[in-house]
Symmetry: D3
Subunit: 235 residues, 6 copies
């Protein structure tokens, strides 16, 4: 088969993944996590964007709100150039508004990460960064109607400085993950942040529990579902 023979109908447009915070290192981590999808020949390209207008991290409801407008602009600008969009922040900022503005389907990593967890286990636990994010996550879990399958959401609750210490961060994730598993009876975990991908394999092996990296989960769903003409289009 020769690539040049592939017509536009056959070949998907690139998938656009948007990191709504302005920290390029987080985008780089997301980009690295796309590797399994890129090993596939002729797979659609995956482009990872940093939202320059975003805060360094999305840590409050205010942060969630302030990224929506530039995020929607970015999505509008890429209409026709993307087969799908993935919003790579565990608060799924602007998800429903983005679905209004975009002809291509839009996926949120929280919604997709949680759906993927439900395929892997019975009750999920979420490892969050900040204690203050948990109410926001729980509103989302209930809005999604998934509360009867939520074992808990617990935070590592480290400061920005402490988070720069990878060993300490990992140690807290292991501790919180074990609590979710043993105390709260979770049998699958979800990483409650797009920037935790690097810890996934080791943590899953040490805790002997499946762990969902939500950006990968969302991209997987996006790659599959965006093949279907009827996904997000009536008729």
């Amino acid at each position: 088969m020769i690539a040049a023979q592939i017509t536009p109908q056959d070949r998907q447009l690139p998938l656009v993944v948007i990191n709504p915070n302005s920290t390029v290192a987080v985008t780089d981590g997301i980009d690295a996590a796309m590797e399994p999808f890129r090993q596939v020949p002729d797979s659609p390209e995956i482009h990872c964007f940093t939202l320059a207008e975003g805060p360094p991290g999305v840590e409050s409801q205010q942060h969630v709100e302030q990224v929506v407008s530039p995020l929607l602009s970015l999505i509008e600008q890429h209409q026709g150039y993307a087969s799908a969009f993935v919003i790579a922040c565990y608060s799924d900022p602007g998800l429903h508004a983005a679905r209004e503005v975009s002809a291509a389907p839009v996926f949120g990593i929280a919604e997709c990460g949680l759906q993927t967890a439900l395929l892997l286990g019975d009750r999920f636990g979420v490892i969050s960064i900040k204690q203050t994010s948990i109410p926001r996550h729980m509103r989302m879990v209930r809005a999604l109607g998934m509360e009867s399958r939520c074992a808990g959401d617990r935070a590592i609750d480290l400061s920005v400085e402490e988070l720069s210490d990878k060993n300490r961060t990992y140690a807290r994730m292991r501790q919180v993950g074990a609590e979710l598993r043993d105390r709260d009876s979770a049998d699958v975990l979800v990483m409650g942040c797009a920037g935790m991908a690097r810890y996934r394999d080791h943590l899953s092996a040490e805790l002997s529990i499946p762990i969902v990296e939500p950006t990968q989960a969302a991209v997987a769903l996006a790659l599959g579902l965006s093949r279907l003409p009827w996904f997000r289009k009536i008729g």
Copy 2:
């Protein structure tokens, strides 16, 4: 790029879709519905199997139970030859047992169809064939924890003879779909049977509502998620 250069790690094993009833025409319909996935160059092959030991249609809990054993045998026999399995019956027979026996991930079309519906709308309605299947479906919806997003499940309730009349079948689907939309407030529909795919486009256009064809939904999820090494494997 030259196909011969693709190493086994790069190239996915085929996806195996199993129709647990013995009606080859249903399998043929499923096979035809795989077309959107096959248009993609170098996409994994999709093999559709008919379970010879199954009943002509899965219409009762007894039918659900009796297909499990041959279904598990078929899955066990294909270990190592499939990247993922899709059980193409809206009762998801043997799904959790299949996950125990299979190293490759296993997807049920009801679970995946419903998850896909949740990405397209707020409350789903299910169009079923038989009135007597609805309690079975509702047990599944509650087991999945999705009841707060279920608008309703209504049956076209035609006899086998009547089902052979495509116009009549379609007319009942339109009627039931409109009831789910208008009376029960569904804003997305799921076809509650693997054999309804042919009616999807026309019905969605006429009712102006997104409609999920569940085998396509399950294959989409399977193609995407089976790329991820951690999906169904700890560590």
Copy 3:
């Protein structure tokens, strides 16, 4: 008693009600609905603001998102001058972010309207303007954890032009309200829009069912709860 003797501790700061759309007529209607509270001697003043930056009406998730930033600015500007804020739009835009930025408590008319309905009846029905708003409302109802007491949400679904015809609007509200009561078994209704106040009394009398005007409900809760030093302040 002489007003001048009232010390600041005794006298509450004004309550600020914000209409997040830019239609002054809606704000005027809200202002008129404040009458019962103003009849009380020495009651705190109630100031109704129009959000100039808002759309003429909040009819989509995009509208919800776009009003948040100017709404938060307005709230921040009035810190110290308001005893409480009421966001007078049935989508409660920016409510949780506003609670982060404001030292004074912030009330949303949807949350308060629904809570008030739960004090008046067993299962509430919501009369919405637009069909497309219903999924947004349902996400909110589930996020609030009130879904088991929600009988339904139905829209009058009139165009802007049709809405200017008050008789027609009322007729549709009566029709939809009767459906919520008779078909969906609601025993209390909530007006799903800040601009429906004028119809409340007549509609409640004709349908023989209690009806909550949500801005009045929110102001009532705000006037009461903002008296309590511990409301929104720890310790």
Copy 4:
């Protein structure tokens, strides 16, 4: 403005708060907790009654049942003299019957305390006196449809003698409150008894968590909502 000019329509009738147990000290504590409302000039009077026929404390379902009849009598006797009634016992005894007999609105401190908690946090924990009261509380939480926002209900479970030791009582409340916060993930607490008001400020400060004193919450709602002619009256 001169008080004599205030017509009956302008001026609210007194609010009647009923302590359904016969312990006058509890009523005195409730009365003291009304202070924030009394600082407001021209605010309606708040009269606190002790139900002489009640038990020393409402500690069982039998106690709940036995106070209903004298409570309803008291409410009936005060028709026309009260703008609203508050039943100041965390089991909300007779609440729905009282709403049948009373033209003025009736508020229960459990229902109002829980609603207020939902405005302050995402998941509430209840500090109860007796372990045996918890099933009764949980029936109420579910009847209210609030179970998805209930983090837990834990008892200090002290004997009457031990309860007279304020230091010991406070220490147990702090311990139980910390468990609700840390183990059960509550982010707001509700005092599960009308007699705990004195401990609220200190406990909230020490545990760094908002705490609802339910009688104050109910009175706040009553003062606000009873202004609205349509509250509890159709049309």
Copy 5:
């Protein structure tokens, strides 16, 4: 086997069924409905009592409350003479208090009728007498945690006079039952009143749906479970 050889341990004490309203005709109907249990040789005796202090019918929350005290007295008086008590009113008045006062187990016909319905179908519908009773029933359904299996509760809403016309009563029950089955998707019905037993067989046959007569259901459970020493006794 000779009856005289049966020791007290072998032979159960009588079962006491209490009709909490004062209408002897209702008690007679309940007594007639006990026939299937009496056909069994050596079955415990079933004694049906009328609560003289009750209202002619329990039609409001006030009625529910006012029967509790005499009901508890009656139960206390029969301690040691009854193997179990059944409260034969669909509002289960005083059930939890009765469990506190009684050493023998106490069963409510609503709780038992609903549990029995869950063994016969997937979603139950309740046929009630009065529209005003439905909120009371729904509070109970939610308190029992059964709301996800409740299809609906609809009232025949006839006056006392109309109820004396058996044909008219039956016609309304058939109409309401058909609505519950067809519109609300119930696949099992529960009679929401102890006085409807006479209509059960005919209605079930005409509507082709299982129907639970709740007093019979409660007595069935009582006869079975009261055999178990551990039922209601720890250790």
Copy 6:
């Protein structure tokens, strides 16, 4: 009364209890647990069967699936000779299929055990053998719609060898039961296995909590409900 005078209509057919695993010692334990029912004169006989085709224990979803076919055969063979069937495995294998094939009612010990627990307490905890069974149990709890009354499900998780040590087994059950009671707030426990009956009395006394032995519970319900002609028969 003379036994010879009892006509077939008066006398119930035997009750058939089926142990779906092949371990005769488990069936013997079940048979011993039937003693309280056999002490009643003229009570229906209770026959306990071992399913020879079953695995030594039902410990996985595969085991659940593989016992269904022989279980249904056994039930079909006994049509006309049994008044009711009880499936004595806590996974309720084949329950809904059995209800399709059997004219006599069929009871599952999990469904009946849980219903009985709801009559004895507010929130139940389940003591399971295997950690891996918990997701299966939770799917069942949600399918039954009982999740809001489930405090938790915890496993003793001993190997087959360890289970043969009765002291060790009991010690783990006490430990797990205490966790369910104290940490998860269960106020009634259910034994999550048909083979735990021997430990019930001692464990309930030591933990001071009611404990449901589910096979006894199911037989109690079966004995009572199978008296009613309408149970499982329409009309």
